[in-house]
Symmetry: C2
Subunit: 374 residues, 2 copies
C-alpha cells in the first residue's frame, strides 16, 4: 500500500481569521485576555494544576449560578452537550418530561427527550413528569421567562426543575438555590465571552438523589454524571479515575472569563446589561422599529429581537451590515425565522458604544437595502 491521497493544497495557505463585531446571539467577542489564557501551554488533564483550575472554575460557576451545590462542573462540550448531559442523567426510559416550548430551545429539548430510545417505552397514558424543562432566556424569540414559584410547584409533584440559561445567565438575575432550580446549565460563549466549547452545569441535592439512584446507567458514557462527578472532584472520593481528556486550554479560558465576571460582580453585570438593553430599545423605537416582545419585563436584556422591518428582506439587511459595518447581527431561528432581527450584546459586548454602532448600522441598512412598495 502507498500514500495515494496527496497533502491538500488548501492547507498551504496560512490561516487568516477576520476581526468582526459579534453582535449576534452568540458566540460573542472574546477579549484578548481570555484568548491569551487559552493559549497557555497544555498540561495533563489529570495534573494537580489542572485540578486546581477546575476547582477555581467550580467556585466561579457556583458564584455565577448563585448555588452551593457540590455537584457543579463544566461539561467538555457546548450548550447542547450540557442539555444532553442534563436529560441523559436525569431521565430514564419510560419516564416522561414536560417541556415549555417558548422558542427553539424548548423544541430541541423535546427532540432530545423523544429520541427513540427514551420514547419507545413511554406508556400510552401520560404519567407524572420527572423533569420540567424551561429555557430562561429564549434567544430565538428574545423572551426572558420568569422563574419564581416554578421550582416549588415542580417539587410539590416530585418533579425536577431543569433550566437552560445559556443566553441569559450573567446578564440577568438568577438564583439557582433560592429559585429551587435542580439542574441549570449555560455555555461559555455568551455572557462569559469565552470561546465555545465548555458548558457550566450544576445539579441540586434533589437532582443528585434521583440521578444516583437510577435503575439503569445513563445512555452516554461520556456524559455519565458518576464519571464526571469524579473527574471534577465532586464525589468526595480521594482519587480521580481517568474518564476523558479534558480540554485543558478551554478550561484556561473558562477560568479567565469567570474571573472577569467575579471582578465586575454579578450585580454590576446585571445592571449594565439592563441599562444597555433599555438604551438600545429606546434607540430602536426612536428609529421607528418595533420590538418583537411587547411586554417590557419579558424582554431578554442579552438578546434583543426586533420585528423584521416591513417591506425589507431581512437577509439583505444582515448581509449589508456584515459587509459594510463588519458587524454580525442575525435573523430569526426556529419559530422566529423571517419574523425578526436578533441582536446580542453579551458580556463585554454590552455597552452603549456598541449600541450606537448597531443603531448606526441599522439606519444605514434601512437606507440602502431594497424596500418593496407594499
Amino acid at each position: 500500500m502507498s500514500v495515494s491521497i496527496p497533502p491538500p493544497k488548501c492547507l498551504k495557505k496560512p490561516l487568516t481569521v477576520p476581526h468582526r463585531l459579534m453582535f449576534g446571539p452568540g458566540p460573542s467577542n472574546v477579549p484578548a485576555r481570555i484568548l491569551q489564557a487559552g493559549a497557555n501551554p497544555v498540561i495533563g488533564h489529570m495534573h494537580e494544576e489542572t485540578f486546581e483550575i477546575m476547582s477555581d472554575i467550580k467556585s466561579g460557576i457556583q458564584y455565577m449560578f448563585q448555588t452551593r451545590n457540590i455537584m457543579t462542573l463544566a461539561v467538555s462540550g457546548t450548550g447542547h452537550t450540557a442539555m444532553e448531559c442534563a436529560i441523559f442523567n436525569a431521565v430514564e426510559a419510560g419516564e416522561s418530561v414536560l417541556t415549555a416550548v417558548n422558542g427553539i430551545w424548548g423544541e430541541r429539548a423535546a427532540e432530545m427527550i423523544t429520541q427513540p430510545n427514551l420514547l419507545r417505552e413511554l406508556p400510552k397514558l401520560p404519567n407524572c413528569p420527572v423533569v420540567f424543562f424551561l429555557a430562561h432566556g429564549e434567544s430565538s424569540t428574545g423572551v426572558l421567562h420568569p422563574l419564581d414559584g416554578i421550582g416549588e410547584l415542580c417539587h410539590k409533584y416530585d418533579c425536577l426543575f431543569l433550566v437552560d440559561s445559556v443566553a441569559s445567565i450573567g446578564g440577568v438575575p438568577l438564583y439557582m438555590d433560592e429559585q429551587g432550580i435542580d439542574i441549570l446549565y449555560t455555555g461559555s460563549q455568551k455572557v462569559l465571552n469565552a470561546p465555545p466549547g465548555t458548558a457550566p452545569i450544576s445539579f441540586s441535592e434533589r437532582a443528585c438523589q434521583k440521578i444516583f439512584h437510577r435503575k439503569t446507567k445513563p445512555i452516554s458514557f461520556f456524559l455519565d454524571l458518576n464519571w464526571l462527578a469524579n473527574y471534577w472532584g465532586c464525589d468526595g472520593k480521594p482519587s480521580r479515575i481517568y474518564h476523558h481528556t479534558g480540554p485543558v486550554n478551554a478550561f484556561y479560558s473558562l477560568r479567565e472569563s469567570l474571573a472577569i465576571l467575579a471582578e465586575e460582580s454579578l450585580e454590576n453585570s446585571w445592571k449594565r446589561h439592563e441599562k444597555v438593553a433599555e438604551y438600545f430599545q429606546a434607540g430602536l423605537e426612536s428609529m421607528g422599529l418595533k420590538l418583537f416582545v411587547k411586554e417590557r419585563k419579558a424582554r431578554l436584556p442579552t438578546v434583543t429581537t426586533i420585528v423584521a422591518p416591513h417591506g425589507y428582506n431581512w437577509k439583505e439587511i444582515t448581509n449589508y451590515i456584515m459587509k459594510t459595518h463588519n458587524i454580525e447581527i442575525s435573523g430569526g431561528l426556529g419559530p422566529s425565522i423571517g419574523l425578526v432581527l436578533r441582536v446580542g450584546l453579551m458580556g463585554c459586548n454590552s455597552s452603549k458604544t456598541n449600541v450606537d454602532k448597531v443603531l448606526a448600522a441599522l439606519k444605514d441598512a434601512l437606507k440602502h437595502c431594497h424596500k418593496s412598495k407594499v
Copy 2:
C-alpha cells in the same frame, strides 16, 4: 432575593500554567504556532470563513486518514465523543457488536455499547455483529494491532469495521480506504499536537448506507450524523442548518496541526516516529529495562510501554521524573496498571533529543528512587 454567594477569592489569583514536557500518552506538547492559531478572534460558527476552515480540516483529515470519504469531519469533543459518535450512529438497539479487547479502549467501547438502552433489547442468542471494534494503537498496553485483511473479513459478514486510531494515526502507516475501514476516528491531542477538544472522524460509503437507513434515530441529538453531516457540508445540501455552536478556536488549532502534518508529509512523519521509537527502544534495553511488548512489530511507535522496573514503586518513578526533570511520563492504565511505565513521543515530541531527555531522567530516577531488596 439577593446575591448570597460572594465572588470566590481563588479567582483573584492570576492563572499560571507551568511549561512541562508532555511525554505521557497524551496530551502532547502543543507548538506555539498551533496555540497561537487557537487564539485568533472568534467568528461565527455559521460564517463562510468558518465553513472554509472546516472544509480545509476535512481535506486534512482525508489526507491523514488516506480516505476519499465525503463523510469526513471533526466532532466537537474529545476521542471519547468520537467513539460515542461512531457507536451511537452505527448501532441500533437490538444489534450486536464485536469488540476486540486488547487494552482499555476495547473495554471502554464494550462499556459504551452495553449501556442499558442498547443492551436490554439484545436477544439471548448472539446474532451476527453489525460492527467490529478494534483499537489500532492500544495506548494502555503499547500494542499496535495489524489491520490488514480484517476489513475484508468483516465485509464478508456484512459487518462494519470500526477502528480507534487515537494513539496511532499520523505516527504509523494507516490507509483507511485500502484497508477497508468503515469508521475511523482519532483525537486532536496526540500526533496532531493540537489541544484536546476535537476529534477527526470518517465514515465509508458502506457505513453511511447503514447509518442513513436506520429504523430509529440515534440516541444522541448532538452526535446524530444527519445533523453533523449537514453542519460539515458533507450531505450535498445547498444550505446548512444550525445544529450546535462549533468550537471555532479549536477548529483553528486543528487546521494548523493538519497543515503542519501536510508540510512534513505522512511518509516522513511515519519514518520519523519509527526511527525515534527504535532509538528509544535500543536506549531502554541498553539500560537494562525491558519492553512490555515482546514482538518488535507489535510495538506502537508513539507510546512505548516499559516493564515496571523490578523492586521499584512505579509511582515514585513518575513523580520523581515530573518533579526533578519537569517531564510527564505515566504508569499503566486499565489492564496495565502497576505493570508498566508509559512514554509517549508523538508528533513534534518524537525526536532523538527528547529520547535522550527521557533516558537521562529514567537513569536518574532509578538511581534516586527507593529500591526494595527483593
